[in-house]
Amino acid sequence: MSPTNRTVVVTGIGATTPLGGDSASTWEALLAGRSGVQVLPYEWAAELPVRIGAPVAVEPGEVLPRPLARKLDRSAQFALIAAREAWADAGYTAKAGEDPAADPDRTGAVVASGIGGVTTLLNQYDVLKNQGVRKVSPHTVPMLMPNSPAANVGIDLGARAGVHTPVSACASGAEAIGYATEMIRTGRADVVVAGGTEAAMHPLPIVAFANMMAMSKNNDDPQGASRPYDAARDGFVLGEGAGIVVLESAEHAAARGARVYCEVVGQGISSDAHHITQPEPSGRGIAAALQHLMDNSDLKPAEIAHVNAHATSTPQGDMAELKALRKVFGDDVDHMAISATKSMTGHLLGGAGGIETVATVLALHNRLAPPTINLENPDPDLDADIVAAEPRPLPAGTIVALNDSFGFGGHNVVLALRSVQH
């Protein structure tokens, strides 16, 4: 195999989500069909048009030492927790270099966020207004910059082959994993820690999204508010957290005897060039991303057994994605078990691609597609096999799973993962 087309595998996973403080507890909750959505327990939320959301299950301040935590925006705190879990899960016992199995000069980090350190920015503006110039934290800039989670993960794990932060709204996390895959495939790195994080639980982002009519206002039924594909869906529910994977070249993983979860087959990317926030209603842009994936990989539609859909529970977006799948894969869509895990986690924006990749890795690894909760009265136009209510076993043999992520701005990113024989 040429050095510019190396096989990339997943060797580690980590997450901190509305469902659990790590990937194992998150997965368990996903299989149990548990919702992480609640009435927001913050004083400031009481007067908002949207009073529900999905905060992380475990506060990062309970996990990270205080002197470290206070220098990090919440988004970087989540990223660091998830990255450390993924790094240890991959079998590394110390940062690159200290663990001789990872060469720092061949180790990278690609961690994305949709909005970066928005709560730091807003909180420090409050400090400036209320307490004056001298009280603004000297850590404000390194906390709010959107590359801060990636940079902090890179410092923590000793990654010197490049640290990057793709920003593409709600496609950011998936784009990060795609970027990391290319770093390895093209030979620039052997190991890359990649994923997405988001921490936007603050009245301003919530009100701003609510005023766009993008969010569910189902304040009376928090756990029923995120309901992808259901006829009564009325928008997304904001979640927070991070999902990170460790990607490696297959050779590197084999050389150190690492456990391999699955292979990254490839990615498909396109842009809508349609509207800054509205999905292109026919699914043309999404179909182009799927087609790009098929044209640039050895993937066969018949192999695709599972799709972790983007499906945020907005009236337009959910259906555009299904139309695109049908357009590209035709009847093959009928054997794809489609799951919308945002029904349980809410929408983590730039973190979504991260935690949904972790969920997709675990779906392949455990041969189980997680359920889509709250799908009670399917949209009359629903024309696909959604895994509702209960998890569903995935077939034996070599199978592929897709993870779709789309973002405001018309970003479409599809990642394809293939099971490996154990």
Binding site: R66, P67, K71, R134, S137, P138, H139, P142
Partner: protein
């Protein structure tokens, strides 16, 4: 009422503990902020602002670079109080 040298040291120890997580008993006069107490240049600004507030003094940015050790800071604050 001006703080004594001991009170200033004790106050700085609490500040450094809050910011850098260093045990208060390790914050001693001969310790270097950056080399011994894990206080980098950004965190040093936090230490200074907290000390200014606690001891009602002003420590101009130009003087901060001369405060290498805890003893430097204690002496500076003692002098600035008077």
């Amino acid at each position: 009422m001006a703080a004594t040298k001991e009170e200033i040291l004790s106050g700085l120890a609490d500040i450094v503990n809050e910011i850098a997580g260093i045990p208060t008993e390790d914050v001693e006069l001969d310790k270097s902020f950056t080399d011994d107490l894990d206080v980098d240049s950004l965190s040093m600004v936090e230490v200074v602002v907290a000390a200014e507030e606690q001891f009602s003094v002003k420590i101009p940015d130009d003087d901060v670079k001369n405060l290498k050790t805890v003893g430097d800071a204690v002496d500076y604050i003692l002098k600035a109080q008077s």
